[in-house]
């Protein structure tokens, strides 16, 4: 019960402090821009009488670019909104009035986590849904396995959120932000290295990429999401941020889920042990 109260208050905080609405507003601006770009591109295709098959594949590739941008926005929003969720309240002493109520510390933490997870879920659903709608109504294309892809983008954000919470129980807001962004940057670079390794057939580079994905699997979850959503033509492009020369296996997704639960357990443990 206590966890649900905390989840509710966290979600309300996001709405009341206009975090959620600002994120949606920025997201709407992005969708408007994306739709306008796609509209003009399709006009060009029509003017130059691009063959339907090629046209469809190019539009599907554009859709993938939209999902890539949504993924970046969602991960950035997740980190920025949750980075001081715990460390900020611990530093200001706000947490003391809550932690002395008849509610366990794990309920405080998981409640806040659920509140942010709900907010991120709404954002990812709205943004992926928005890009899909733009693709369908303007270009007439739909992503392959859109639900699977949406779930994986959400999983990636949830992973980043949980790592932010785990670091927030131990470090100050600023340090927490640096660590989480650093980890995601490491995963991002690792992903690129792995792609280059796969394209140039250099096993050592692939190994470096896999190791970085094991350290922080967020980027590999995105690459799996991208793999699920992209068309066969986009896949054939191989080397781009929006397609995969080396798609992470389903096992990597399982690893990401396990990683998430371990990070949540670490967060609960540290929060339970620390002085407030």
């Amino acid at each position: 019960m206590g966890a649900w109260i905390m989840a509710g208050v966290t979600f309300r905080e996001a709405a009341r402090k206009k975090i959620l609405w600002t994120a949606f507003l920025a997201g709407s601006a992005f969708l408007a821009l994306f739709g306008t770009g796609m509209h003009f591109q399709i006009n060009e295709f029509t003017r130059h009488s691009v063959p339907p098959f090629i046209r469809y594949q190019l539009e599907a590739a554009m859709l993938q670019v939209g999902f890539y941008a949504v993924d970046l926005l969602a991960v950035t929003m997740t980190i920025l909104t949750s980075v001081d969720a715990l460390s900020g309240e611990i530093a200001s002493g706000t947490i003391q009035a809550i932690a002395t109520k008849p509610i366990s510390r794990w309920q405080v933490l998981t409640g806040k986590w659920m509140g942010f997870a709900g907010m991120v879920a709404a954002y990812v659903a709205a943004m992926v849904g928005g890009v899909t709608a733009v693709g369908y109504f303007i270009g007439g294309v739909l992503p392959h396995h859109s639900l699977r892809g949406t779930f994986l983008v959400f999983l990636e954000c949830l992973l980043v959120l949980t790592v932010t919470f785990a670091c927030g129980t131990r470090f100050s807001t600023l340090t927490n932000g640096v660590i989480v962004l650093g980890l995601h940057g490491l995963a991002f670079m690792g992903g690129w290295i792995e792609q280059i390794g796969a394209m140039t057939d250099t096993p050592r580079l692939v190994t470096v990429g896999i190791v970085s994905s094991l350290i922080m699997p967020s980027e590999s979850v995105w690459r799996r999401a991208s793999f699920e959503m992209q068309s066969s033509f986009t896949r054939s492009l191989q080397f781009s941020p929006f397609s995969n020369a080396s798609a992470p296996s389903a096992l990597m997704v399982v690893y990401a889920v396990v990683y998430l639960f371990v990070a949540l357990t670490v967060a609960i443990y540290h929060f339970h042990q620390r002085d407030l």
């Binding site: 208050v9 002493g93 003391q96 002395t100 509610i103 366990s104 407030l276």
Partner: protein
């Protein structure tokens, strides 16, 4: 322990049910750390703390505990009513009970005109009042108040004092941590003094003290011989016209002094024992300030 620094050591405290208990000590004595340990916010590196018969980190016992942190802060986007409802819900109170309790409590702390105002628009004193209300929302048996009157004007201080007394009257125990000794003196039934993490003295403020007192006597016909004869009971005596000021080690000698003065032929108009103020006692126990 905080790193290599010992914050609290060998602290043993017993607080009686239904009393207003003052917890005194200089800066850095370990008062706030002790309170946090009792509330389960800080874990002792060794030893145990029991509150209302249960370990201090027991979640269920917190249903019976209220806490006002020093310099109360909370989500500034909440209104005063929402804040109390949230804390009431966290304490497991039913919605129907909260509908009655929240406006009544807001009225008690004098914030009725501001109940739908967001906390971001509250002054420090108003935050302190609403903080006190959240500590009392579930009518706890034991209330920890850490510097409850800091930031309050005289009316606010009076209000807090009255609320503390009303809590005691309904049978609650109040654990008060404050630097304002004059407030403690008026509000508390008993105080303990803590220094370097250990209890060094205690005093029952409601009982007549059997310790050092300053005695003020106004009398006529006080001869120098009579004053000299008082050295049997007093450590010092100073005569200024009809006013005689004495210091004694114990209140038990007061009847003997009065009998002696009357027997010596003095006409006694006033005989007033004045106990040491809490501030004097504090300074006497803690010693001089050697700097932080």
């Amino acid at each position: 322990m905080f790193g290599t620094k010992v914050a609290v050591s060998n602290l043993s405290l017993t607080v009686r049910r239904g009393e207003v208990f003052g917890f005194l000590g200089p800066n850095g004595a370990g008062k706030s750390t002790s309170v946090k340990m009792l509330l389960g916010l800080v874990k002792p590196s060794s030893g145990q703390a029991f509150v209302l018969g249960a370990p201090s980190d027991d979640v269920d016992v917190r249903r019976k505990i209220g806490f006002l942190p020093e310099d109360f802060r909370f989500y500034t986007w909440l209104t005063a009513s929402e804040l109390l409802k949230l804390h009431g819900r966290l304490c497991g109170m039913a919605a129907a009970r909260l509908r009655e309790r929240v406006p009544a409590l807001i009225d008690q702390v004098g914030l009725t005109p501001h109940r739908e105002k967001r906390l971001r628009d509250f002054s420090k004193g108003m935050l302190q009042r609403i903080g006190l209300a959240q500590a009392l929302i579930h009518e706890p048996e034991l209330i920890f108040l850490d510097e409850p009157t800091s930031g309050l004007d005289p009316m606010g201080r009076r209000l807090v004092r009255d609320m503390i007394h009303s809590q005691r009257d309904r049978g609650a125990t109040v654990f008060l941590n404050s630097h304002i000794l004059s407030e403690i003196e008026i509000t508390c039934d008993r105080v303990v003094f803590i220094k370097e993490g250990e209890v060094v003295a205690s005093r029952d403020l409601r009982a007549f003290p059997d310790d050092e007192v300053c005695l003020v006597v106004r009398a006529r016909n006080l001869s120098a011989e009579t004053v000299a004869g008082l050295s049997h009971w007093s450590t010092s005596a100073r005569l200024d016209g009809e006013r005689l000021t004495l210091a004694t080690h114990s209140t038990s000698v007061l009847p003997d002094i009065l009998r002696y003065l009357v027997a010596s032929g003095s006409d006694v108009f006033e005989f007033t024992p004045e106990r040491l103020s809490l501030e004097d006692l504090f300074l006497k126990i803690m010693g001089e300030d050697r700097g932080l």
